[in-house]
């Protein structure tokens, strides 16, 4: 049997062919593994690819659509899988909290905001990840997914706490902030934040930087929430954030404000530092 001049033993090709055609027994599998170690240049999927290509050609004439009921079950299973994978991916990529970013007890930069809030819900650090919804623009979804899947060393992921001062939040409101000081990149995810009318009011993000005075949080820009339910918003701060300690979302006049009165605070997420 010719192997076209390549330095590949015929037996190795035979085993690859048999594997792709009907699988191998234990002894043959061990033999194949031994030969592959001796010939690492061999593309182990090459026979599978040849069979797959031929299979696609032979099946082309009588290809059938997938039954609708099966497609529906698969779609449901895909949603479950994506949700499970999102949680799994997030747990695998738990954020690394830099030890030098510890917040000392009395220096809670965002404390006045919390005190001012009618309903104080201390934001706790939770680790969860969800795949972006179809409602968000694909590019932002992809950026967010990549950011979470390949987190930077100083990645933090914090759940929004439902503050709801001056704005009613639904009971099932959830969301999170993911952020990196080093990259000055981050995303906010909201699920259930009420839709706003941009001609009347807009949401505005504030980032509390522990290296700056609490009275002057960094302006994170304004954004809108549509009716799609779950929204991903990239964070674009006006100036670099060196050590994010908390994120707060207020409701402001269209275009945002330079200094917030803090009368209407939708939600807040505090970065819990490792002790």
């Amino acid at each position: 049997m010719s192997n076209a001049g390549r330095d590949i033993p015929d037996r190795l090709l035979e085993l690859l062919a048999d594997q792709a055609l009907e699988g191998l027994g234990d002894a043959e599998t061990r033999e194949l593994e031994t030969l592959l170690r001796q010939h690492p240049q061999v593309e182990i999927d090459s026979c599978f690819e040849a069979v797959a290509a031929l299979d696609m050609a032979l099946v082309a004439g009588d290809r059938e659509p997938m039954p609708e009921a099966l497609a529906a079950r698969l779609t449901a299973r895909a949603d479950e899988w994506i949700a499970a994978e999102g949680r799994s991916a997030a747990s695998k990529s738990r954020p690394v909290i830099k030890s030098d970013r510890r917040i000392e007890g009395p220096r809670l930069w965002w404390a006045p905001w919390l005190v001012a809030a009618a309903s104080l819900a201390v934001a706790s650090v939770v680790w969860f990840g969800r795949t972006p919804s179809p409602g968000a623009p694909a590019s932002i979804e992809n950026q967010f997914a990549r950011f979470v899947a390949e987190p930077p060393a100083d990645f933090v992921q914090v759940a929004w706490g439902a503050i709801g001062k001056g704005i009613a939040l639904p009971d099932d409101f959830t969301g999170e902030v993911v952020w990196s000081d080093a990259l000055n990149e981050g995303y906010m995810v909201f699920d259930g934040l009420p839709q706003n009318d941009p001609t009347v009011e807009q949401y505005q993000l504030w980032v509390f930087d522990s290296t700056r005075p609490e009275a002057t949080p960094v302006d994170g820009g304004v954004f809108d929430i549509d009716a799609s339910g779950r929204v991903i918003v990239p964070i674009t701060t006006k100036i670099p954030v060196r050590d994010a300690a908390a994120f707060a979302v207020t409701v402001e006049t269209p275009g945002g404000v330079v200094v917030s009165t803090r009368d209407r605070i939708a939600t807040l997420a505090a970065v819990e530092k490792a002790s």
């Binding site: 062919a17 009907e22 797959a52």
Partner: protein, 166 residues
Amino acid sequence: MSEYGGLVWSLAKRMCRTHADAEDAVQDIFVSIWRSADRFDPNVGSEATFVAVIARRKLIDRLRAQTRRSDTVTLTEAAPGAELTVDRSELGEEARIALEAFDELTDDQQRVLRLAVHHGCTHEQIAQTLEMPLGTVKTHSRRGLIKIRETLKQRKANGSGVGTEV
């Protein structure tokens, strides 16, 4: 899923004994595709081939884990040239090249490979169906497949576009 649902379903249906088994297989295959999606490299092969390779692996695993098909394959099904009413213009690049290479094989190699690939038959079943010695069946299937593999590799090396077309 919408793009490859028909392909995976068709592959599974041919290699599974029952409708229910084919449905289970399709679900296994898609879960495997989702899990492996980050391994897809468009420089290596097309998306369709990536999906079909995963499907093939899963279906073979299932076949080996189950009692083998015992259906008798008719000689009509195994005849060279049978079932090749394929509109080649609708095939992806890799499938088209594979089919061209398949056309160059001997009649016996085509019969054996069609039974092995298209019908999921074992070498032993093919030997019974075609009344050929088992060793001859293995030789035909291996040589035929290796020839197709080499053709695909050569075309890829020559930059035929393999790997860029779905």
